[in-house]
């Protein structure tokens, strides 16, 4: 390697690793993301995993940036193809003039096209030679990591530390083999391309930055919010939250229970909530449907409860490992009868923490069900962001077993519900029954038409009261203009990038990211009135009437005819250019 020619450093790199699910390509991506997090670079990853246990095609895309990274990248600068099918399926994702590294032991048919530079490297045999013995395909991911580290001139020492931290726990042999594979990849001569050093990171909080995925931050946010009891049933992509809480909660004196089914999971959580704790259950798609009846109970009985839903694709079993935003209506309305509840949606990995914390605060304060609607894209992708300050973001759980006064009523018509959990004495000598029957202020069953009207109003009004505390919606960009792009959940990054591109082209475009899905911010009407067009991109179906689920809600709320939908129904996140193209059409009045 010569140090004479210093190629211009690059600020962004999108690397797509395409292989099969057992190849460990997720670990390469995770190592790169962790490296970025610790070197003040920004990162966002994107992965697809097959719903089969082993052997299906899988990709992991990493977008590294010196500055802010908002989306996982529309096109890849570099493709690493482990097999012929990886090559065949993903070459089209490489930008013109990009680079394709392929395993020359496995990929035989090469299509030279669009100026893409092809570099064949025998990942498989080179790894076996490096490690020795019959290593089969193990370790070639680390070989590739070493190669990428050299190509992008990443911090070799730091990445060695990260590998040591990961494999050192297992055994010395495992670590030694990993380092042999890494060094072999790092030193592999890839002379025929210019190396592309990544410019140094610009994030000033480099030292205290975390890099992890959305489900991890959601779980930690629930802990910070005071959740100490939960129950769940395994389902992708929710399961990693229950696995994490099962291990973590005992440290805080809490517990998480795996149940026989989704119905039991939500019932256990309601039992713990009735007991005076803040409890959580969660699931994905089908599991949310199963929990619906009990969620309605929580609304009726006014028990605090958190239900996490990591949305996935399609109805029924659908596309279990794909992303979609099609549970919004179900989250808001998915129980029989009028059962008002709060629905919040995090917009990126970092926000998963703060959304979970806010959900905990709202659930307790308003004694209500709060649904957290995350999605598969946020759940599994890795981002880097500043560590939350626990001095400001911590709710210490309190089990209030104080004696309830003589005039205690669990369901006062003129105030918020505060239950008396078992173990709390009653000065009156009368003990309350928490119920799913319509009831009076003391919780006695009541079939009175007037009482049903009053209690329905009580359950509705507390949410209106909550919405009154939101403040003005946060707009990115100018406060008025030609187009406001409104999104929710994981579309936040691509929309923001699209807005930046459109503004740089001279358009007057702003962004609004809605985290409070239900109740909506009462000030939206006024905000919308300041823009000529409103575009709502969503990863769901436009339905019979031509509007996505959030767009439908926004039209119902604001009666604003300027609201249009942009829907994508492929189980994939938006590309920035798809949003830009649609926005340009809207702005051109097409």
């Amino acid at each position: 390697m010569s140090a004479t020619a210093t190629p211009t450093s690059i600020r962004n790199a999108v690397i797509r690793l395409a292989g099969h699910s057992q190849d460990g390509i997720q670990s390469i991506g995770a190592f790169l993301a962790q490296l970025a997090g610790s070197t003040a670079q920004d990162v966002m990853t994107y992965m697809t995993i097959p719903s089969t246990i082993s052997g299906g095609p899988s990709i992991f895309q990493v977008h590294l940036g010196s500055g802010e990274v908002l989306h996982p990248g529309d096109e890849s600068d570099t493709l690493v193809a482990f097999y012929q099918d990886s090559y065949d399926n993903h070459l089209s994702a490489v930008k013109d003039g990009g680079i394709c590294f392929y395993d020359s032991d496995k990929v035989e048919e090469i299509r030279e096209e669009r100026g893409i530079i092809h570099i064949g490297v025998p990942f498989t045999t080179a790894t076996i030679e490096a490690i020795g013995g019959n290593a089969k395909s193990r370790g070639k991911n680390i070989f590739v990591l070493g190669m990428l580290c050299a190509v992008y001139k990443l911090d070799r020492d730091k990445i060695s530390d990260i590998i040591a931290a990961k494999f050192g726990k297992k055994s010395e042999d495992v670590l030694r083999n990993a380092m042999l594979a890494f060094d072999a990849g790092y030193l592999w001569p890839v002379h025929d391309i210019n190396h592309m050093p990544m410019a140094p990171g610009e994030n000033d909080l480099g030292q205290d930055r975390l890099s992890t995925d959305g489900n991890t931050m959601l779980g930690l946010g629930l802990i910070a919010g005071g959740c100490r009891f939960g129950a769940g049933y395994p389902i992708t992509p929710w399961s990693t939250i229950m696995e994490q809480l099962r291990s973590e909660l005992p440290k805080y004196g809490g517990m998480f229970i795996q149940t026989e089914d989704e119905l039991a999971a939500v019932a256990l959580a309601i039992g713990a909530s009735f007991a005076g704790h803040l409890a959580i259950t969660g699931s994905s798609g089908p599991g949310l449907s199963l929990k619906s009846e009990a969620m309605g109970y929580a609304c009726m009985a006014e028990l605090p409860l958190i239900v996490v839903n990591i949305q996935r694709g399609g109805p029924s079993t659908g596309m279990p490992t794909s992303v979609e935003q099609s549970d919004l209506m179900q989250a808001i309305y998915g129980s029989h009868g009028d059962a008002p509840r709060v629905v919040l949606a995090p917009r990126d990995v970092e926000d998963c923490f703060y959304t979970a914390l806010e959900a905990c605060r709202i659930a307790k304060e308003y004694s209500t069900l709060v649904v957290i609607l995350s999605d598969q894209a946020i759940a599994s992708r890795i981002e880097a962001f500043p560590e939350p300050d626990l001095e400001k973001n911590w709710i210490e759980p309190v089990l209030d077993l104080s004696e309830r006064p003589e005039d205690f009523k669990p369901y006062p018509l003129d105030g918020l519900t505060r239950h008396s959990p078992p173990g709390a004495k009653s000065a009156s000598g009368k003990y309350p029954v928490v119920t799913g029957l319509e009831h009076d202020e003391w919780g006695h069953p009541s079939g009175s038409p007037k009482m049903h009207e009053q209690m329905s109003a009580k359950r509705r009004e507390k949410l209106i009261q909550l919405a009154g505390t939101y403040g003005a919606p946060e707009i990115y960009g100018e406060e008025s203009g030609d187009l406001l792009i409104v999104g929710w959940g994981s579309t936040y990054g691509p929309i923001r990038e699209a807005v930046d591109r459109l503004c740089s082209e001279g358009h007057k475009v702003s962004q609004l990211s809605i985290r409070h899905i239900h109740p909506l911010n009462p000030n939206l009407d006024e905000v919308f009135s300041r823009f000529t067009h409103i575009l709502v991109p969503e990863i769901n179906d436009p339905g019979i009437y031509g509007f996505g689920q959030l767009a439908t809600m926004l039209r119902a709320k604001t009666c604003n005819p300027a609201i249009q939908s942009l829907n994508k129904i492929q189980g994939l996140t938006f590309r920035v250019k798809e949003i830009v193209t649609k926005a340009e059409e809207v702005l051109a009045g097409k």
Binding site: G37, S38, D208, R209, L210, S211, L220, I223, F229, A231, E248, P250, K251, Y252, G253, G254, M255, I257, T259, E260, D261, L263, A264, A265, A267, L268, A269, I270, G271, A272, S273, F274, A275, G276, H277, A279, E293, A294, Y297, A301, E387, L390, E391, W394, E396, P421, P422, G423, A424, K425, S426, K430, Y431, P432, V433, V434, G436, L437, H444, P445
Partner: protein, 296 residues
């Protein structure tokens, strides 16, 4: 005068709440009275007694008891009580329900609460019929019995709740009859004192839709009330318990099976204790900061 006041004993009067909405002479009245008797006798702290129920006539039970209570959805009383019991080991948790709630719509939960040995007491008031919805076939309705959903007589083999309970892993299994109050008192008391999942199958007549269903176990109505001889029956012998379940017409009454096994409450608490000991001296924030550190 002593400075330490004697803790006030809970009285039946204090335990009574709303007058039951059950039909006159419903077997459930006797179950309620028996529950009052036993709770009073055992001298629990009033605020620590909790009644849990799902949906059905008998599941109205919590409204008729003046203790903390929760009236939940159909079939899910046991998992709710599981969350309650595991998260609050200081409480005395009672679950009440009928055959439809417990053996049909909630059937899956019975097996799992039993195998996990959740510390609570479950009283099933089995009347062989859906009463609240007015006379449909239930999972324990005998073949041939006519109902609104089986106008030609029930054709499906009824489940055998006792053999299901024996195979479920429950650690205390008894069977009693609401017309035999003394026996019912004894079964409830032993069930409550048992550490772990205790269940009492209680035949409780629906006088409205299935009058006389359990007369075959009432001597003054020509039946026989046969008790298990605890001198000869080995309560820890699963095979012996299973043998007893084979004939329930009217079958035997008493404790079919009883054993000691770690409760899930104890097993989970042990984990919590160990995890907390490993983090002694650290605040919750400190522990969470450790998690953050691993993500750097």
């Amino acid at each position: 005068m002593s400075t330490t006041a004697e803790p006030k004993k809970l009285t039946k009067k204090e335990l009574k709440a709303d007058h039951p909405t059950w039909c006159p002479a419903c077997g459930d009245f006797a179950v309620l009275a028996s529950f009052f008797n036993v709770v009073q006798k055992l001298g629990f702290d009033h605020e620590k007694v909790v009644c849990v129920a799902g949906i059905g006539c008998s599941s109205r039970f919590p409204y008729f008891v003046n203790t903390h209570g929760i009236h939940f959805i159909h079939g899910r009383a046991l998992p709710l009580a599981t969350g309650l019991s595991l998260s609050r080991p200081d409480l005395h948790v009672f679950v009440f329900g009928g055959d439809g709630d417990g053996y049909s719509i909630g059937g899956n939960h019975l097996t799992h609460a039993a195998r996990k040995n959740i510390n609570l007491t479950y009283v099933v008031m089995d009347n062989f019929v859906y009463g609240l919805t007015k006379n449909q076939t239930s999972p324990t309705t005998p073949i041939g019995r006519k109902s609104k959903t089986d106008p030609r007589g029930a054709i499906d083999r009824p489940i055998n709740p006792m053999s299901q309970l024996v195979s479920s892993g429950a650690t205390f299994i008894a069977r009693t009859h609401a017309a035999h109050v003394k026996h019912m008192n004894e079964m409830f008391e032993r069930a409550i004192l048992h550490n772990g999942f205790s269940v009492v199958e209680t035949l409780s007549e629906c006088t409205m839709f299935y009058p006389g269903a359990f007369n075959d176990a009432i001597p003054r109505k020509g039946g026989e009330f046969n008790l298990i001889d605890e001198e000869t029956h080995d309560k820890q012998d699963l095979a012996a318990a299973m043998a007893l379940t084979q004939d329930l017409t009217p079958g035997k009454f008493g404790v079919y099976f009883e054993t000691e096994r770690d409760t899930k409450n104890e097993l989970e608490s042990a984990w919590v204790k160990d995890a907390q000991a490993a983090h002694a001296g650290l605040s919750g924030q400190d522990i969470l900061r450790q998690s953050f550190a691993r993500l750097r």
